[in-house]
């Protein structure tokens, strides 16, 4: 029988996710509760609330009506002949079906995505970036953002040990990123975001991180998410330019995750794409800096992560390399068609004057309003809690509050051989039935500890979560230090020695 020793070492090297472990625990607790309650037992909480990761539909948000109506008509074309669905829905479904081979969503498509959808995406980008050109041939559709990223970083991968290709990755980063890089056999070269400045990108820190990284790997790319996942930071033009200049000078390829571009709510903040900023810089940058930007159905407004579709736009990438992107995507054969169609609907939604426009815009505005409200409410609340401080978010779907843990908890975690935030999350889950994300899920090192809270939830859910968080778990409460929290605006020291570097 094959043994563990005979499993691909790359697979064995993929770090286990604390998120998975906590999730499993949450499921067991939820099952136990259902059982206990039916048996009449009293529990401190009636259900487990999971706010550790973003999944809007699970959180109770409804799908965008227009999207689902069009998909239904594409799945069952007889609906095109009936009047159950609005005319603009039927027209769009018709057009999309004409773009499918054999007029069916059950056919394969071209490996890099349906031409029609790639074209729609290109047009969306041109509109969004106020005229910066975009071409369908530079857009590659895949089964979600993770897949797009994986396909691309595999092209970069190579080397062993000190020559192993590395990617500068932010601390904190999306909780799914480290395992992905492990699987592609790339080294992670962490750079810390500046908590005291609302998680801004600090160019000096980028330089420090790069210098340190070159001693143990070969950095070839820098990954960044904007709006920040999980920090909620939204970069302004100046900050983006700084990062571009850094990447250009240090010959790093830019990998930019912009999936939350539709969710910016910080006062005075707007989303501006890396591509647009790049194009509006001098030719020495706009013609040369290699950039890949990513987007997907898992955006806040769509919440259709389960349909598994996303895309990447390749900017200034060598055309011969682009050919290989398509080759790699060939082995997936093609991206799920319902997902591709949903991408089309995401980038080309109902416009003013369309029958479905009112409903559509109401639904979008509602999501945006809830997100913005929640962000403010939760940040203020958490920042006031003893043992916690929280930077305001300007965009995205998470808050990333800081935990001030007592030495007692830290010691206990050490004995249990888990990370302190992981232990805290477990205590929270067991005593309060709330599942948050543990900051240690990526290379977060002492002495700062964080939690990840998804704020794309219904307001009632958020209130319930905050109420439960208002008093920390009794096991933690007993050992809390005197209030050390920093209000937002105070400056954190960021240039701490990072043992990972």
């Amino acid at each position: 029988m094959s043994s563990l020793q005979q499993v691909n070492p790359t697979v064995r090297g993929i770090r286990a996710s604390a998120h998975t472990r906590l999730h499993r625990l949450a499921t067991h607790i939820a099952q136990d509760i259902t059982q206990d309650i039916t048996q009449g037992a009293l529990k401190p909480f009636k259900e487990v609330i999971d706010v550790s990761a973003g999944d809007p539909h699970t959180a109770g948000f409804k799908p965008v009506t227009f999207v689902r109506q069009v998909l239904a008509a594409c799945l069952l074309p007889r609906l095109l002949e009936e009047e159950t669905l609005p005319l603009d829905v039927r027209r769009r479904a018709q057009r999309l079906l004409e773009a499918c081979e054999g007029g069916s969503v059950g056919s394969y498509t071209a490996s890099s995505g349906m031409c029609h959808v790639r074209q729609s995406i290109a047009e969306f980008i041109v509109r969004r970036d106020v005229g910066v050109p975009s071409h369908a041939k530079d857009i590659f559709i895949s089964s979600g953002l993770q897949r797009a990223l994986m396909v691309f970083i595999k092209l970069l991968a190579g080397g062993q040990e000190e020559t192993r290709v590395g990617v500068l990755t932010p601390v904190p980063c999306p909780h799914t990123l480290p395992a992905l890089l492990d699987e592609a056999r790339l080294a992670l070269a962490p750079y810390r975001l500046a908590e005291g400045r609302r998680w801004a990108v600090d160019v000096d820190e980028l330089h420090r991180a790069l210098k340190s990284a070159t001693e143990r790997c070969k950095p070839r790319a820098i990954y960044i998410s904007n709006p920040g996942n999980p920090t909620g930071h939204v970069q302004d033009r100046k900050s983006i330019e700084e990062v571009i200049r850094f990447a250009a000078a240090e010959r790093l390829l830019l990998l930019v995750d912009e999936v939350y571009q539709d969710s910016v709510y910080g006062p005075g903040r707007r989303f501006i794409s890396y591509k647009r900023v790049l194009f509006e810089m001098d030719g020495e940058y706009s013609d040369t800096v290699e950039l890949v930007s990513f987007h997907s159905l898992a955006s806040a407004h769509m919440g259709e992560g389960g349909l598994m579709a996303g895309y990447m736009e390749l900017v200034n990438i060598d055309p011969e390399v682009m050919h290989f992107v398509d080759t790699m995507l060939c082995t997936d054969i093609s991206t799920p068609v319902t997902g591709q169609l949903a991408l089309d609907l995401m980038v080309d939604p109902p416009r003013p004057g369309d029958l479905s426009f009112d409903t559509y815009s109401q639904e979008i505005l509602l999501t945006r309003a809830v997100l913005s409200q929640n962000a403010q409410r939760a940040q203020e609340f958490l920042n006031d809690l003893p043992g916690m401080s929280c930077q305001p978010a300007m965009g995205g779907i998470y808050l990333y509050p800081r935990l001030h843990l007592s030495p007692h908890i830290i010691e206990k975690a050490k004995t249990l051989k888990v990370e302190p935030e992981d232990l805290y999350c477990q205590m929270l889950l067991e005593e309060k039935g709330v599942l948050l994300g543990a900051g240690c899920q990526y290379g977060e090192t002492a002495p700062s500890y964080h939690l990840r809270l998804c704020i794309l939830v219904l307001p009632d859910t958020l209130e319930e979560v905050l109420a439960r968080l208002a008093s920390p778990p009794s096991t933690v409460m007993a050992a809390l230090p005197a209030r050390e929290g920093r209000r937002h605006g105070e400056h954190f020291v960021t240039h701490q020695w990072c043992p990972l570097c």
């Binding site: 029988m1 094959s2 043994s3 005979q6 499993v7 691909n8 070492p9 697979v11 993929i14 996710s17 998975t20 999944d55 539909h57 699970t58 959180a59 998909l71 239904a72 799945l75 069952l76 054999g102 069916s104 969503v105 059950g106 056919s107 394969y108 490996s111 089964s143 979600g144 993770q146 897949r147 595999k154 092209l155 970069l156 190579g158 395992a179 330089h207 000078a249 240090e250 020495e284 040369t288 290699e290 769509m302 919440g303 259709e304 992560g305 389960g306 349909l307 598994m308 990438i317 060598d318 390399v321 290989f324 080759t327 060939c330 082995t331 054969i333 093609s334 991206t335 799920p336 319902t338």
Partner: protein
């Protein structure tokens, strides 16, 4: 400032080029979508632009995509999926009750009752349970554990995942993976990407593409000189060859796998596509268990199925699963960890798979319509399989084995020496040269045998039997005419 920066932005060379790219990627090729398809697409574009050609459409008989060739979706499946996509339709009385019930059950298992929510990475639990029940029913009651079922983004995803798990070692110890020649190029592409060693075993064209243990033994012994053979892949019914393995043959393969301590990967995506009257689909798992505990408790296996083929032909959904048998628990834990990296398989595909393994029952309202449609699709394919074999065998220079199953024919073509020389001159494999000519002259796109592997000195092409019957007859006629012309031209 780093050295790079100190040199200024003077250097204009790209950060990422084909030369400094991951070398494994360069070796990846997928013939089904290779050069000939690129040319076919170009020709289609030219036709659209009004360029005059000897034909007015390109017939893409290169890829196993039934709907693209006009096959209709099964009504029941699409009804349930539409209900899942837009649950308001549950109020619409034009949908049958059994469709509504299935949709409701699926939605209840989804986060927020939405197919847009992520599911667990191994796949929605109640669907895995349904898959397990389907397997038990299919295999005469042999138990199937839902925990051993992994839903996937098509069978391809599961196959690549499994191969990735099993590849290890360096140099002479590097994992060797046995694949049949001719093979489905996904396997060779995956092996190139993983830098695993590909071990070819030849199917016997003279014996209807059957598998011979002696040939397996030859291949594995030769391979032991330079690698560590650990995996044996088999496609049944076969792609591109269409052969349906006999029960005896399957037993032989299992015995061989046990003796050589190989992990068996049984690709069974065409399990409903069996046409020859004297052939029957036997699942590897069933045969394994019926061979008794000496085998059923020791041989490690993964079998694969998908929603892309059979009577559904729903390629665009990317639905599929694998069942793993006798896997070491620690190894299984690694597999579970690995699938969690990609989040989850597309939920509409999971929903579709649920319907495939849980179709309308005789006492349900949709049963008759469903069975009628299913039977019609499979009967038409069987008819076309027979027709294809018959017509090709009547052409001098084309020899065609019976299409016992799957969706393809893989006839052997005799090429005149002058044609072979011309091909070599142009830097093309002779059968690629032949297929390119066919494309340019008749607008028919096939895949040359060289893309699948074949015995040295033999030439083939793979054609799907998917075009509608009347069109298929025309295609077969055109290929016949082309072949005669070609043979004459190069005689």
């Amino acid at each position: 400032m780093s050295q790079h920066a100190a040199n200024g932005l003077a250097s204009r060379a790209k950060v990422l080029t084909v030369d400094n790219m991951n070398p494994n990627v360069k070796r990846v090729e997928y013939a089904v979508r290779g050069a000939i398809v690129q040319r076919a697409l170009q020709i289609e574009k030219e036709l659209k632009e009004g360029v005059k050609k000897p034909f007015n459409e390109v017939i893409k008989a290169n890829i196993g995509d039934a709907h693209a060739m006009g096959q209709k979706p099964i009504t029941f499946l699409r009804q349930v999926l539409a209900l899942c996509a837009y649950p308001e339709l549950l109020q619409d009385d034009k949908f049958p009750e059994d469709a509504k019930q299935r949709a409701q059950r699926i939605l209840e298992a989804c986060g927020g009752h939405s197919i847009g929510a992520y599911s667990s990475s191994q796949g929605i639990e109640c669907i895995r349970q349904d898959v397990a029940r389907y397997i038990e029913k299919r295999d005469g009651g042999i138990p199937s554990n839902p925990d051993n079922i992994y839903l996937a983004t098509g069978a391809s995803d599961a196959i690549v995942t499994m191969l990735k798990m099993l590849v290890c070692g360096e140099g002479r110890d590097r994992t060797g993976v046995m694949i049949s020649i001719p093979q489905y190029p996904l396997y060779s592409a995956a092996l190139a990407d993983l830098a695993a060693v590909q071990i070819n075993y030849y199917l016997d064209e003279d014996k209807c593409w059957s598998l011979d243990t002696a040939e397996l033994r030859r291949a594995v012994n030769a391979a032991r000189q330079h690698c560590n053979p650990r995996v044996l892949c088999i496609i049944n019914p076969g792609n591109p060859t269409g052969q349906v393995q006999s029960r005896e043959c399957i037993e032989d393969v299992i015995r061989f796998a046990k003796e050589e301590r190989l992990f068996l990967m049984a690709d069974e995506v065409y399990q409903d596509n069996v046409y020859a009257e004297d052939c029957k689909f036997h699942s590897f798992k069933r045969v394994l268990f019926e061979m008794g505990p000496e085998y059923s408790t020791t041989v490690e296996m993964a079998s694969f199925h998908s929603t892309s083929k059979c009577y559904m032909g729903e390629c665009g959904f990317r639905g599929g699963y694998m069942e793993v048998i006798n896997m070491d628990p620690e190894v299984k834990a690694q597999l579970t960890k690995m699938v969690s990296v990609r989040l989850c398989p597309p939920v509409p595909g999971q929903a579709l798979l649920d319907l495939v393994v849980n179709p309308p029952q005789p006492d349900e309202p949709s049963y008759h319509q469903f069975m009628k449609e299913r039977t019609a699709v499979l009967a038409t394919l069987a008819e076309k399989a027979g027709l294809t074999e018959q017509i090709f065998n009547a052409v001098p220079g084309i020899t065609c084995n019976p299409v016992q199953g799957a969706m393809y024919t893989f006839p052997r073509i005799a090429l005149p020496q002058r044609a072979i020389d011309k091909a070599t001159e142009e830097g093309l494999a002779p059968d690629m040269f032949y297929c390119m000519r066919l494309l340019e002259e008749e607008g028919i796109c096939l895949v040359p045998g060289s893309g699948f592997g074949q015995r040295e000195g033999t030439f083939h092409f793979r054609m799907t039997i998917l075009p509608p019957t009347e069109k298929l007859k025309i295609v077969l006629q055109k290929i016949q005419d082309f072949h005669v012309r070609f043979a004459q031209e190069f005689s």
